[in-house]
């Protein structure tokens, strides 16, 4: 496939005009093309992964941020049901709150099942009860006022999930930062590989460089000829790598949707949004193509100029 795409580019080049001064086959073509394709694929997959994690983290954080939990611990002398009603009432009258409801005993039992086992009669034990509060607008909600008002209910406390959100954001931030560092390392490795390939190509084409110098070509002209070849290779590699990455995400998304059991698939969906990159993710991956091509062209041009100034 790589050779077919390369062939198409070469045909387009030839149609444009005279034959290239730097022969196409002499610029470590296939090896460099394969290397740039792999680097582009890795960059695109890393970038896509970063986008997925970031989007999921934002979605998680937004979901969690819209919900508060009032916990009412059993206190001797207090009537739980009465306290629950008061807490619900206080929450419903707080500005910015969309709804509030107390979890029933059955719902509380289900929540405790993973720890205490099924079939437990909670009526026999005094367990804390919960009120789930949904916020209409997390920014404008008067959470401090609700906290103050809840102080009137003995054993009541408000959990805004702030610590959990903080941990979530820290974890997502760490993953995103790690992804960006991997991207930077891939970039450095690509630049180094292009430098070595360019210097190799210059040594291989020493005769051409000498002839061009003898007939009055400037270093700028010679660098431009080499840059043209490397730009073409960078474009081809970037295109193939980005296309492979898009295909990779499409396959992973399909696999997550179809191959996993419905429950596991649902959990994966909660974690990664069913691997949907979205328009911004796809744009990010497609942006790898011009970035890799420009990186290749600029690196090779600078390497050639340096090589020529060293040798002339």
């Amino acid at each position: 496939m790589i050779e077919r795409v390369a062939g198409l580019f070469n045909i387009l080049r030839r149609r444009r005009g005279a034959a290239p001064i730097v022969p196409e086959k002499s610029v470590a073509g296939r090896t460099l093309l394969l290397m740039i394709t792999i680097m582009s694929f890795l960059s695109a997959v890393t970038l896509g992964g970063v986008v997925l994690v970031q989007k999921s983290a934002i979605a998680w954080s937004a979901d969690v941020g819209r919900e508060l939990t009032i916990q009412i611990r059993p206190v001797e002398g207090e009537v739980m049901e009465s306290n629950l009603r008061t807490a619900v009432s206080l929450a419903q009258t707080t500005p910015g709150v969309a709804s509030a409801r107390a979890l029933t005993l059955e719902e509380s039992q289900k929540l405790l099942e993973p720890w205490l086992g099924a079939g437990l009669d909670l009526a026999a034990i005094e367990v804390p009860r919960l009120v789930v509060v949904q916020l209409a607008d997390p920014v404008d909600a008067d959470i401090e006022g609700l906290t103050r008002n809840l102080a009137a209910i003995k054993g009541a406390s408000l959990d805004t999930h702030a610590a959990w959100r903080q941990q979530l954001n820290t974890m997502a931030g760490t993953i995103v930062l790690s992804g960006l560092m991997v991207l930077a390392l891939i970039g450095v490795a690509t630049v180094l590989a292009i430098i070595f390939a360019t210097r190799g190509a210059m040594a291989t084409n020493r005769e051409i460089v000498d002839v061009l110098h003898y007939i009055g070509a400037s270093n700028r002209f010679i660098a431009g000829e080499f840059q043209g070849r490397f730009l073409s290779i960078g474009l081809q590699g970037g295109l193939i790598g980005a296309a492979a990455a898009l295909l990779f995400f499409a396959l992973i998304g399909a696999a997550a949707g179809n191959m996993l059991s419905s429950e596991a698939g649902a959990q994966m969906g909660v974690l990664f949004g069913r691997f949907a990159l979205g328009v911004d993710g796809m744009i990010g991956i497609l942006a790898v193509i011009p970035v890799i091509a420009a990186l290749t062209a600029i690196t090779s041009r600078m390497t050639v100029r340096r090589y020529l100034s060293e040798t002339s």
Binding site: A18, A19, I21, I208, D210, Y214, I215, G216, A217, F221
Partner: protein, 220 residues
Amino acid sequence: MIEFSDVGLRYGNGPEILRDLTFSIEPGSFHFLTGPSGAGKTSLLRLLLLSLKPSRGKVTMFGEDVSDLSQDRLLQMRRHIGIVFQEFRLLDHLTTFENVALPLRVLGQPESEYRPNVTELLEWVGLGERMNALPSLLSGGEKQRAAIARAVIARPKVLLADEPTGNVDPELSSRLVHLFAELNRTLGTTIILATHELPLLDKFSYPRMLLSKGELVIHD
């Protein structure tokens, strides 16, 4: 046009390859540069091509002292100088036409502009039928004629030739020198042709510059 005054050349800290060269070349003239192998002919041609700077003395070309020229000015001056090598140095992946057109391409001329000139010159040097052939398919004589055409296509003021007849038989050597003579006569190009083939020197009555052990012993 070209003036050398007490010019010496050494590579690094080695001995002087060229010593005390003093001579001048007039515009439109034709000179043979001769001498035994190792006499310094190629080094002198590299000085004339401005790819080397003298270790001492003064070289003036086209009215300018070349020792203080910027890289850009050197490049501009080099475009007034054509060069032909013994080993042709054609680019193997380009056709005869593309090889000859290379200096004009380097100058930024579009193909539509230079195609008639290149075609005319190729026909003039007898390569009209071989325009689209790659160098590997050309004979030694054809390669050298293509190299000469490439050297003169941009109308240089000076044409340097380093043993251009070294890889062809005596009859073809004579025909190639006739070609240089024709260029000198019709275009007025100043020609300095380095050779160590004595029969050629006897056959053509152009002035000779004889180098021996780095010194110019005859310049008539």
